[in-house]
Symmetry: C2
Subunit: 931 residues, 2 copies
Amino acid sequence: MAKGKMIYTFEEGDGKNKMLLGGKGANLCEMTQIGLNVPPGFVITTEACLAFLENNRLPDGVWEDVKKQMAALEKKTGKGFGSADNPLLVSVRSGSAMSMPGMMDTILNLGLNETSLQGLIKQTGNERFAWDAYRRFIQLFAKIALNIPDEPFDEKMKEVKTAYHARQDVDLKADQLKELAEAFLAIVHRHSGKPFPQDPFEQLDIAIKAVFRSWNGKRAVDYRKQFKITPDQASGTAVNIVTMVFGNMGNDSGTGVGFTRNPGTGENLIYGEYLVNAQGEDVVAGIRTPKPIAEMAQEMPEIYDQLIQLHNRLESHYKEVQDFEFTIEKGILYCLQTRNGKMNARGMVRSSVEMCNEGFITKEQALLRIHPSILEQLLVPQLAPNFKGNSLAQGLPASPGAASGHIVFDADTAEARGRSGEKIILVREETKPEDIHGFFHARGILTSRGGKTSHAAVVARGMGKACVSGCEAIHIDDFARKATIGDMTLHEGDVITIDGGTGHVYAGEVPTVEPEVSEELTTLLTWADQAARLEVRANADTPGDAVKARAFGAKGIGLCRTERMFNSTDRLPIVQEMILAETLEERQAALDRLLPIQRNDFKGIFKAMKGLPVTVRLLDPPMHEFLPTAAQLEMEITHLRHLRDTIKGIEELPETLKLLNPGLYQKYADGLGRLNDAMTTFKESHLEEDVIVKKEKTLRKVRSLAEVNPMLGHRGVRLGITFPEIYSMQIQAVLEAAALCAKEGIEVYPEIMVPQVATVEELMRIHSYVKRIHKIVVLTHGIDVQYKFGSMLEVVRACMRAGRMAEDAEFFSFGTNDLTQATFSFSREDAENKFLPAYNETGILQDNPFEVLDIKGVGEVMKIAVERGRATRPDLKIGICGEHGGHPESIAFCHEIGLNYVSCSGPRVPIARLAAAQAQLKGVTAKGANA
Amino acid sequence: MAKGKMIYTFEEGDGKNKMLLGGKGANLCEMTQIGLNVPPGFVITTEACLAFLENNRLPDGVWEDVKKQMAALEKKTGKGFGSADNPLLVSVRSGSAMSMPGMMDTILNLGLNETSLQGLIKQTGNERFAWDAYRRFIQLFAKIALNIPDEPFDEKMKEVKTAYHARQDVDLKADQLKELAEAFLAIVHRHSGKPFPQDPFEQLDIAIKAVFRSWNGKRAVDYRKQFKITPDQASGTAVNIVTMVFGNMGNDSGTGVGFTRNPGTGENLIYGEYLVNAQGEDVVAGIRTPKPIAEMAQEMPEIYDQLIQLHNRLESHYKEVQDFEFTIEKGILYCLQTRNGKMNARGMVRSSVEMCNEGFITKEQALLRIHPSILEQLLVPQLAPNFKGNSLAQGLPASPGAASGHIVFDADTAEARGRSGEKIILVREETKPEDIHGFFHARGILTSRGGKTSHAAVVARGMGKACVSGCEAIHIDDFARKATIGDMTLHEGDVITIDGGTGHVYAGEVPTVEPEVSEELTTLLTWADQAARLEVRANADTPGDAVKARAFGAKGIGLCRTERMFNSTDRLPIVQEMILAETLEERQAALDRLLPIQRNDFKGIFKAMKGLPVTVRLLDPPMHEFLPTAAQLEMEITHLRHLRDTIKGIEELPETLKLLNPGLYQKYADGLGRLNDAMTTFKESHLEEDVIVKKEKTLRKVRSLAEVNPMLGHRGVRLGITFPEIYSMQIQAVLEAAALCAKEGIEVYPEIMVPQVATVEELMRIHSYVKRIHKIVVLTHGIDVQYKFGSMLEVVRACMRAGRMAEDAEFFSFGTNDLTQATFSFSREDAENKFLPAYNETGILQDNPFEVLDIKGVGEVMKIAVERGRATRPDLKIGICGEHGGHPESIAFCHEIGLNYVSCSGPRVPIARLAAAQAQLKGVTAKGANA
């Protein structure tokens, strides 16, 4: 076996050589060598381990070296191994190149025996602590090194506690612990057939060999098998022998933990807690309350100075905020451990920017150390961090953010009450496009059905509103205007709070904290924009959304869904009139009323986005989405008919009564007359015959529009071809709005985009509408509006034909929601309700492809389209406006295949900006389609 | 301008030089030069035309040449131009390189004047004919050469007819026509200010120039513009001057038309009609009935000999059956025109095979001259050719063939009455998979809704049964068991006849002729198989279908849809039990009962196909297709509840009556008791409480299975993954059936195919089932069954991942129906009902992509899959089993991209075999994906 050096002091070992020294050993060496005051010690190498396992004895000379190193430790510390005065105690720790929970971990206080125990008492002045340490050491050593199970020790402990009426371990006094330790020694003797080894070197010899053997123990072997750890990743374990230091040696001693910066705020101040004259166990046991480190400056100024030095050394070396543990023994600060600190988003952002400004890291490093997704925390309201209530139910975390408000069960009420300034949570079984006006006026949406890509979830994310979807524990009774969760009933108007980041639903109003875009975040994202090649745009459908998107740093609108404008209450009736029209004239009349409304919408959006491009998608959803469902209409018609018959009965009552019983009639004639008058008034205002007729007409239309597979039906450009007047109105509204803005001196860059295109001919047909209308607008308004014309790529065929499409289109935008459906032949709703959960559970699919872009399949189709499109038109602008446009991994792929921009919902814009920068910095460059 | 020779006699002109001589002129030259007796004449070239148009005068020397050629014609014919004895008359015809209806066509009998008219009377002995010819010539010449409109001539004609009480032109006598001709001459004089030109050369000069000028006439120019005829396709028109010949010069004269072979049967016998002593006009006027050419052998044996010579010359030169016109003038047969004869399928097949055997053409030519689609006529029953009745209504020609039978309105009745031997036509609004047992027992299917790719259409084509779909004129009342067409009512049991080739529906039984696979067709298809590279398989779901497919020459089963086996009445209840199962055990119990049934099906198919491969597709459709619809169940439950309540009322009646009126009760007690007993019996046998409970349970299941987009829902391999026990049963049935057959010494080649695969993991999962079950079957049956495992490619993602798929799959089969839906994002049913008609009308799409494979889009996806699959596994077998597999153009594409086989419905197998041969012969070879 290896003939090399098998023992390294922490001053000697190569901090990078984890294979030889193990992860822990290498770390201890590194810390020591960068000048941190680490308790002295040494490492026995993994090679020694392998040699031991081969020959079942320590390699020649190793034991002698160990003894030499122990002597060196005694010299360094001025302590004696087994000394009755000032004993040297050590910890023995295993540590391989990979962290492996299956192996023996740590024996503390090795070197304790009857003699050194007295030394420990003398040094700490704490008899109870010493006996407690001793009895712990005996049990741990027995278990790990001598294979004696825990049970006899635990039984004894119980026995002793019962005898002294101690509820907890900490209630036991020193002499009681002494009694326990002695009993433990007897257990060891009984089980091993030998007395507990009192010679510290015998203890050390046994411990080292036990650690080595644990490498081939069943748990470690199983662990390596399960996690597929191969010999070239880790082979053998090292043994780390570290001097024990004690924080309970008086008022110049102590212990604590700290972050080099505040992990919650990022502030550059050591953050943590410490206890004077205490060991780590005291913190864990909760007997004493630790103090914030800030107080140390007063209480222990010299130690605090050492802590400041430690902080500086740590950060200048690791270039990351560190989470470290320390112990102070008699005025000397020891660093026991350090690792990169886990921080929340605010902390990450501020510390990254400041560490860059302080010269520790570069801008690139600052950008790369933050996972884009965690920025979400900064962009939506959160539950107050100290809130600890229980939730009523948990659904899916469908759109992040916390929101409180009064429950309402339909969109109209949400709008009415929302307009009056009330905070509203819209609660429905599931939502439909016709509910969208309710979304505008709600602070959050809660549904009992539907997945993370249900209508409610997608729309809420788009608007940056909190949403919990698929909360199946809630049973909603629309009609009774109440909902039940288990035994609890919630009535309309009751207040609840939802947390769209976790899916929890709470009763009442839970305090929330509002998001703030900090100065540091602004700085970071500016750096991101400088680093990124991909532009980030936002999906926004209203002027208000556009303003928000711009505030989030969007470089344009990548998707403006014109149909969203159709759904507000003042427009929907006109849209329905347009759909129900039986002649072209009727339809045109409705469109003529919609034109100024849409034009105004576009003006607002263009103004909000002045100087930046705005991509307007022409009408996409099938017409039936703007109408009530057949079931709804059938119910309404039945009720209305019933009501009409009832009223007719009441109207005829006087005549009937007169005929049957004139006396009775005389008596009640007056009252009946009044009832009748009231009925007539009611009828006239609410129940003209044509209400039913209209609803029946609508029902016929709804039935005629019904489709077997609406996802693949009469929608998008197919509507544009079959009803040219609808698209023409929209195109006119866009171009006229642009002309009017341009006249006011506002820079406008409208881009007209056609959805659901499958054939080149469809695109050319719509392009011909645009060209014709453009000419008219130029003549009418006397100003030449510039615009771009392009196509969504969301149909597979369009991607295959991208080369020819690019002759007509100046830009492409991938609609990856629909493209994913078409590429998988998965209907999103059906897949998520029926088989996708099983697919994820059984490992057929790793992710939900509607959340994480499927690079192997959908990505291939995209690559082919990009390649063919650019072959025709090398400067073709290509973007993505599906939900994946806000997902960091998907953004990396978009960067890789050479897209020009991603477009996502407003609140995800900062996330996308950071992800775009990282994609560039990670050196991913555009590759060919067959890469 | 051109200085070349500008006039060619028919003996001189180059028959291939259509640019110079025009199409007609070149043809006349060709006919003359191959030795046919064409009336002599000459051509003035298109170059002369262009020169004339440039300078507005005939090029130097042309008129002199015309006069020389006329002199030559006089010499050749022994007639004189303008002669009073034996006048030479000519026709003047235009003719450019492309046929152009916009140009002046033909002036007949030029050279007629007061003098030559007498000569014509002398020669024909028919004064009426001569005057009629004269008045026609005057009007035509006036119109074409002198620009005098038809109106004054037509008015005069009307006037004369009225005067002589003539109903038709033919009723006018010689002197009346003479009067008309003289009036016509006066009209010409009045309109042109000059007398009608009596000098034949003046007539000729004017006519030639008029023909030349017509090249730049408005109609001709418009025509060239509309059909995008460019100068390199046709430039200028030639003028053909042809001697008139007359078939009415006595009993040694005549006229006729003929085919060189019988166009209906292909028999090698001249087929046609002739009239002795008559001109072509006589045939048109219908005054005399022509005789079959066969009679000529007796009546005019010498002429008949000339006809035989003509036949031989035509076929040996043109190598196609010719359709020719002839005139006999005084014992000499002239051929006026010949072209390739239009023949029906039988004629084409027989003549092709015989012409090949006779050495006229090669096998390749024989194969190439028949359009594969026309073979359809030979493979299904046809209406008797002499039937001339009126149809009741017309729907879409959804599946060819004619069928008569008794109307039934549901599948169960169709099965019941069909089993008893009745001929049945299944008539429904539309069909569903649960109707399939009715298809088996019906001779034809008629639906009032649905397109050519509706369920009814697709299934009927698959089975080779006649189908008319979408016949909207028929209103079906299932409940009343009747249908109405306008005022007519058809009751269940009434006989109708449908013609799936035309879409017509007839009352009563129309005689039909059964198909027969002739010896010639068998020969032709054997040649086709030798020539083709693509193999042709059939789609077949039952042993019966398999037998038929084999008879049609299928080289295997390319698609056996196992779910079709689930739909027959003895199986559906078990399948429904399986679907309604609430536990795995219940489901397994149902599957255990299905196993032997499926195994038996497969045994039957394997036996029928012994020695050939059989591709079995595992369950594809979503489960809800095997259950009734929610609406159906709701109606049934309502009715059943009502019935139950009614019965309950009757049961309680005695008690009620006893209480209210004991006297009455006494009187009716007996009757009530009997009624009650009858009720109880009825209830016990038909209305146990659990009938309703069961239906309610089914309804709940139907609702839970409902999908938004079933096409993209829980089906195919997704079912196989979520309910492994279903696929396992099917796999076991296939492999056990193969084992049992193998034991009986039958060669079996089972191929197991997985539908709707989108990911490699799905395929691997099912493959693991197959391998496991295969091991068990081998152990159980003691015989090692060989099988192949493969994947449908009908999901776009699978095509993109074909490289990786091919590691697991030994074969691919494109399912182009679903692949087309996914590539276009078109739902077939919705597209055909909603927007596809408009797309076809407005030219967005040329074809219905569900009928004609979309090569540019779907074809691209296929090419990518083929390329990637073969890169992994060069010997990968790839086929197609969508409906396109039977469509000739689509087959050519499949050949081009290198597929190994196409699979289509049985009756289309011969068509596909011929198309496969043509694809190879047309020299289309496999190309790369980017070709």
